[in-house]
Subunit: 375 residues, 2 copies
């Protein structure tokens, strides 16, 4: 099971600590690089270790469809399959079913959908989503939920949220059954997190948080935020929600976000983050830097001999000029995707170190104010 030790809580509410799960440890606040298909796009596992990543996130929806969970089980589970020595987490697939799969039908039972790869028909239920994640075998697995998009009307949000919360109870039951029965191939029990939904309605968020915290989840995620709503709404709802979550369990803000979003999320007491941004924008030629974004498509970088970020000491910034990276980006070369993704993840993971240090030194509010002013 999961052990969460809070080393220090800052006066701002930010906390720094450590999660230990099935022999794997990661420091919080943590950023989890996203390995949707069992690979963090463009990087090797050795590079991720070198970058300081301690946990990566896989996606049960993608892995279930390809390569299939039988193969992953045969190869010893996700971490062994991808040869990743650190901690792992899988998202249940709720978000992906609703955002990627065509022909969705939702019932109390679950969600029937077609694969976005080959059109084959599938049914995901809370029980099967948990069973799939048991077989994939990540250290932390997620409840199966139904997020709502933005905007969403109140009736639709209410229906989806209440159903998600009923599904959460079924996930707990399936997980407990699996842990004691034959479904679970792992010698150590996986941790299961619940996901608070509630769309953009503070009282529905509150009700969802209340129902979920009555269930014995090992941690609590906040889902359905940062899907297009204004930032002020995101962080207003986040602060409102995290206050209702037990202080002694990790809090995970799903799919968020930019460096500034992470700094603000930590202020709301969040311990874990994941986001495709550093690798996705990296593949598209955009680098984060201490002073803003560098979009290599811009002609101004054509003959710029400086590194992506003059303040960065990563290998890419020590090696290549903006002019060179712009050239290989425009030429469609893989090295461009590699370099900018690497740099961006380096920046994210160094940011997490600075965040943790500021919390341990009890000066997180000051750190955050300064960071948000300059970004």
């Amino acid at each position: 099971m999961l052990e969460f030790t809070i080393g220090k809580t800052d006066p701002s509410g930010a906390r720094a600590g450590r999660v230990c799960v099935r022999g794997h440890t990661f420091d919080t606040p943590a950023f989890m690089p996203v390995a949707t298909q069992a690979t963090v796009k463009a990087l090797t596992q050795a590079e991720l270790i070198g970058l300081g990543a301690q946990i990566v996130l896989g996606n049960a929806y993608h892995l279930y469809l390809r390569p299939g969970i039988g193969l992953i089980q045969q190869m010893g589970g996700l971490a062994a399959f991808m040869n990743w020595p650190g901690a792992t987490l899988t998202d249940s697939g709720g978000y992906q079913v609703f955002s990627l799969a065509p022909l969705i039908e939702v019932s109390e039972e679950g969600v029937s959908f077609r694969s976005h790869i080959d059109g084959s028909e599938h049914l995901l239920t809370p029980e099967s989503a948990i069973q799939i994640q048991h077989v994939i075998g990540a250290d932390i697995i997620m409840a199966f939920d139904e997020p709502v998009g933005y905007p969403a009307d109140r009736a639709r949000t209410l229906e989806a949220t209440e159903r998600s919360d009923r599904w959460a109870a079924r996930c707990i039951e399936a997980h407990q059954k699996g842990a004691g029965g034959t479904l679970l191939p792992n010698p150590n029990i996986q941790a299961l997190f619940g996901i608070v939904q509630g769309g953009f309605e503070p009282d529905l968020r509150e009700a969802s948080a209340r129902r979920l915290t009555e269930l014995p989840f090992d941690g609590y995620a906040v889902g359905g935020l940062s899907v297009g709503e204004p930032k002020e709404q995101t962080f207003g709802l986040l602060a409102h929600t995290t206050l209702l979550l037990p202080a002694d369990r990790p809090r995970y803000l799903m799919g968020v976000g930019t460096p500034a979003d992470i700094v603000r999320g930590v202020l709301c007491g969040v311990d874990m983050f994941d986001c495709v941004l550093p690798t996705r924008v990296g593949r598209n030629g955009t680098a984060y830097s201490k002073t803003g974004k560098i979009n290599l498509k811009n002609a101004q970088y054509q003959d710029d001999p400086r590194p992506l970020d003059p303040d960065c000491d990563c290998e890419v910034c020590a090696t290549y000029s903006r002019a060179y990276l712009r050239h290989i980006y425009k030429a469609g070369e893989i090295l461009a995707a590699r370099c900018v993704s690497y740099h961006n993840l380096y920046l994210y993971l160094r940011l997490m170190e600075r965040i943790r240090k500021a919390i341990y030194e009890q000066r997180y509010q000051e750190f955050a104010d300064e960071f948000l002013l300059s970004s």
Copy 2:
């Protein structure tokens, strides 16, 4: 200028030695990874160094069109632009103009063509091809020639070969003029290689070799082979041609080939090779191994826990299974292209080491026989 020291000549005719040019050294027989657009596809320069690459090949045609030679000059030349500490060679663009560019018109003056990128009109002449390569600034540059494809009729081959040889003399003149005049931005003089053509006609190959060896080239390439003709013809013509080339200059077989081709080329006294195969087939999911090719598309590798090549000690083979690599290849992930390209180049560069060792130990014929039997 270029210094070529032959350390040992094997009874078979294979030779091992060292080329030193403008302070850069590489051991021969050498394999030059191809960095068409100033990047060896999918790999970093640091990885190439780690793999033992000592010289890489850029392409004047591609670099002239994108990013343009003005930028490369401004950035200090090709090696500085791509931050490559080893030796560099550029192909003149002759082959690429004829194979990639639409709307070609050939005259005695040169070749007019449209860019395959944006359709813009350009004229390449022997003089401009040399000038472009002066500005790009590789250590070794190539004469501008007109290859013929396969099959090619004798009249067409005769015309193209005689013109190529007249162009070769103009290249020498342009190079000498550049070296003494204002065209050459490099403090040390670049080496210039001639390219023997002659299609598939032994007497035309002979005539071309004779004309070119009367010119003071620093080395001699054999061009226009391995373009679709049967292998026996390739190596028959190659052996015929290399015999006519001066023993004290490096011999370079352009664009060849598979590991077996390289082993056979060395038997014909070739010192330098380049080929896109290891990275191109790598991106397409095919790995070379000591016992043949592994095509990750094949279903037989679906649950194969072994490394790409069980006899290989590269980082990829130490880390990932065929099953994993097949999954990420099928999922379209960049890591697959990286891993298989890396492994293939590792295999090529280890092969070159084994070739050199066998020559130094005067047992190259035995090595080649054994290699060709098992491949």
